[in-house]
């Protein structure tokens, strides 16, 4: 089997399984996460976009993950595989808080 045919076969398997990546966006404007509370399905990729003229960062409440400082227009993405609630805040401006709820 040629390499091309292997690749095509894999593509077909993924397509047939019905798995389709879901995406969601959280905008950061005026020192606020919008939406502040976001409900997603497992496997969803979340993108934070900083629209402020000041850097912000994303820090999980228990420091399980964090982004670098996002300058104006920069983004941070993370995929959430498991069900649960994830609290986070801005490492530079900790009064900015948000929550992601992952449920099937």
């Amino acid at each position: 089997m040629s390499r091309l045919r292997i690749v095509l076969s894999l593509v077909l398997i993924v397509a047939a399984s019905g798995v389709r990546a879901q995406e969601a966006v959280i905008h950061i404007d005026n020192f606020t996460f919008n939406p502040a509370e976001l409900t997603i399905k497992p496997g969803t990729t979340v993108t934070w976009m900083n629209g402020d003229d000041i850097p912000h960062s994303i820090v999980e409440t228990n420091a399980r993950f964090h982004s670098r400082a996002l300058d104006t227009g920069e983004v941070f993405t993370m995929t959430f595989a498991d069900a649960g609630e994830i609290g986070y805040f801005c490492g530079l401006h900790p009064h900015m808080k948000g929550k992601i709820i992952v449920k099937p």
């Binding site: 020192f31 402020d52 000041i54 409440t61 300058d71 900790p94 009064h95 808080k97």
Partner: protein, 316 residues
């Protein structure tokens, strides 16, 4: 500008109003008999007298080297202008304090540029970090490699100058969700120990990035455990607390403690609650230098409090 000053500690309404007049450039502090006074409040003759019996130092803050957004596309230029003002002061300052946010994004080239510009004033500089100085992957490693050699923990330390005890605190590290600025138990314990050997009459100057009094919690403008730290300072006759972070002048007097925030050299921020967020405030280009500046502080033996003069980069 002045946050409801009460008239306990020898700071009068007139003093507060004079501070307001000077709002905008920088702060030159004169430590006279324990309480910093800003030099702009003194005449030239008085300033000369100050030089004989005390000393002055300069506070700069929030230089944000690397910032290039519309509120000030040329933050390096305004920092250079601030240094030119420092060099032109009537009394040569003994040293400079930088109360944090030296850089915008903790990048090596930003630290390099800032050091070169600030170095042009030819003064020793004592730094504390702002939250923008510790966003490198090492959470402040880059800052501490440059400025943390003789410090403890995340970068706190103290030193003495002509009988005045200076304490640099860090309230921007290890912040918690929903919280304000924070000193943390380890630093507060160190502060308690640091103060033990000092006489009540020793003038104290505390400097840190985020205000050590609650200016506006909705924007995170305060330090959650500042009251514990200030408790250890209650016995001292003269305490001056110098902060930055809010990019505008504000002063408050509480008992023997004078709180003062300096202007930024980079860009202004709105008055508390006056805008949807505390982000950089866009002002007409010709007004910008009227809201940026330095502070000059004068200390004179046997007088209280220290005099703080805020100088704008240009008349507003």
């Amino acid at each position: 500008m002045t946050d409801k000053p009460d008239d306990h500690g020898g700071v009068t309404r007139r003093h507060a109003l004079e501070c307001m007049i000077w709002a905008g450039t920088g702060v030159l502090w004169t430590v006279a008999g324990g309480v910093p006074k800003s030099i702009g409040l003194l005449g030239n003759a008085e300033a000369a007298e100050t030089a004989a019996k005390g000393f002055t130092f300069v506070q700069i803050s929030d230089s944000h080297i690397g910032f290039n957004k519309p509120a000030n596309p040329h933050a390096a230029d305004t920092l250079q202008e601030a240094m030119d003002h420092v060099k032109a002061l009537p009394v040569k300052p003994s040293f400079m304090l930088h109360t944090g946010d030296i850089t915008h994004l903790s990048k090596a080239e930003e630290f390099d540029n800032a050091a070169q510009l600030i170095g042009s004033a030819g003064l020793d500089v004592h730094y504390v970090p702002g939250e923008h100085d510790i966003v490198d992957e090492g959470a402040g490693k880059a800052y501490r490699a440059r400025y943390g050699k003789k410090t403890k923990g995340t970068g706190w330390y103290s030193f003495d100058q002509d009988g005045v005890h200076f304490i640099g605190l860090v309230n921007v590290a290890n912040l918690k969700a929903g919280g304000l600025g924070s000193l943390g138990a380890e630093q507060i314990k160190w502060l308690e120990d640091d103060l033990k050997a000092l006489k009540d009459s020793t003038p104290i100057v505390v400097f840190a990035h985020i205000p050590l009094w609650t200016v506006y919690p909705e924007w995170g403008w305060g330090t959650e455990d500042a009251a514990v730290a200030l408790g250890y300072l209650k016995r001292f006759g003269s305490v001056t607390v110098l902060n930055g972070h809010i990019h505008q002048l504000m002063q408050k007097v509480e008992g023997n403690v004078t709180f003062h925030t300096a202007r930024s050299t980079a860009f202004p921020q709105p008055a508390p609650g006056a805008a949807p967020s505390p982000g950089p405030m866009l002002v007409p280009a010709e007004k910008l230098r009227g809201v940026l500046g330095i502070a000059d502080v004068t200390f004179r033996q046997g007088r209280a409090p220290l005099a703080i003069t805020d100088y704008a980069l240009a008349p507003s």
